[in-house]
Amino acid sequence: MKIETVVHVKSESGLHARPAGVLVKSASQFKAKIELEKNGVRKNAKSIMSLMSLGAVFGDQLTLITEGEDADHAATILKTLFETKFE
């Protein structure tokens, strides 16, 4: 199963170390392949370095792509994280 979800970066510092860390930790719990896409560039959401190199800033619109057996669950959880600014 492959799911594409639109998410928005609402944390003021963008995807800096702390939000990126929270995201990576959460994403790593899933078996699904999880990626984030910005302007056509896709990065592995389980990799902190890749995620930071996405250069996502406050207000950016990203596409969350989850693919695998728990893709659905992953998409729901990660979307919530974006909504709650990773708090």
Binding site: A17, R18, M49
Partner: protein, 570 residues
Amino acid sequence: MKQVLFGKTCFPGIAIGPAVWFRSTQINLENIKTETPAIEIQKLEIAFQKTESSLKILIESQQSDSKDISISKDILEAHLMMLGDPEWKGQTLEFIQQGKSAAVSLKESSQIFKSMLESLDDEYLKARAHDIEDLSYQVLTHLTGQGLDKLKLTEPCILVAKGLLPSEFLSLDKKKLLGLIFENSSNTSHTAILAKTFEIPCIVGVHNLSDFIFEKNLIIMDALKAQIQTEPSLEAQNLALKELESQKEESKNLEIFISKKSISQDHISFEVASNLSCIDDMKLAIQKGTEGCGLFRSEFLLLDQKSMPSEEEQFQTYKTLVQSLAPSKAVIRLFDIGGDKQLPFLQLPKEENPFLGLRGLRLSLSQPDILLKPQLRALLRSAPYGKLAIMAPMVTTLGEVQDFKMALKTCENELLSEGLLSTPPSYEVGIMVEVPAIALILNDLIPHLNFVSVGTNDLIQYLCATDRMNSTVSHLHDAYHPAVLRFLYLISNELKNSTVWMGLCGELAAQNDYVPLLMAMGFKELSVSPGSLLKTRAKVCGTSVEASQKILQLALKAKSSAELKNLLQN
């Protein structure tokens, strides 16, 4: 990134040059053997595990450390997460599969991720490239076993480090050191004192250095303003070079004081002497026209030693010192160990509060056969070669002074009966005044002493109950606190009209605005690092003691550090 950083001045001066990080001992990958991918992968796994456990140990150790816990813990935890990054590791494994060694593969994959972050517009994320560099360095040290060796400077540079141990500093080629920048180190740490000794512009206490200063990037530091510029414009570079020139000119103008005696405007004689840590320091001080040595830190003889130096070895050093400085005085302080200067070969028990523990004379008296006697014997044997003064550190009671003098007498008699001395030597005996308790009973010590020397760094630390190494409170380690001035005044009153002469061997003697106050209180000997010698002498020569006494009376009434500073500046 272009940035101006601030810290605290340790030794003033301007420097311009490439930054070299101290931790980044060059790891050489050229002679690394490459084995089969399976074995290389195994090596990588082990190095990752080792790095992970050292990071975890470091994280744990942060909890007992009170300062900036959350920040440093966050950083370390981010490092831990980066270490587990599947992409980074995946890329490394891919390179290994292509037939490269684990070390080369790691270095190359790190480079890929570093460049990726460096290409971003976001300054914060750009700075994270340095975290990758840091981390890959840590893994590489475990992979290669390198990186524990001492750093060799290949070109003139500004050395940047979190902190630096005195022994590490001492192993560097000082001729190639244009400047020093430290993240942690407080202004009065021993490395900072060494920087002053070697006259190297030095800024301490700059936060998050590794985010802003990168290996080999050109930087400008103005240590007087405690300011660092990264990626300076051409204009800024030219300005810095110009200022560097005028600085050289100023020190050239001070050169006329090399051959001058330290005599005040109203013809009162003083001695501007030097604080020394080794024979190299002494050579520099003699070139600058030092009037003797007001503090020889004998414990530096013990640094980097696997065992205790013998009486004979000690004797050779003391003899060189006493002989070279004659006819001026050489004040040699007994080993001041303990506190922040631990020695591996002595295996001293770990103390909760080393600064309040077994250090200085306390330690020497507790280990007479290993520490006290060999040193006293070596010192007494050097006495006939010049003008020796023996000084005990960290003295708290009259009883300690008596024990110290008794030990001197015993050693003297031994040497006379062994024939190592032909006649009773002449020398002076004194103590450091650092412990407030001893300052309050100095009057009782007059019959036992020839001199006292106030060690202001430690005295202020004990008086203000402030750890000078702790950057979160080091602002309270303040020589301009009215209590410090009044305490110095009290010391001078304890010794008024006695034959006991007073010296001062803390860095306070290098504070130009404070010098007239010290002169007015009757401190006859001001001992500073060789780099500050001429400045202090110029000040002494330009000061009238009589006029300073009036200023002193006003200064004693100051109610705050700011008020005192303000008074002294006008």
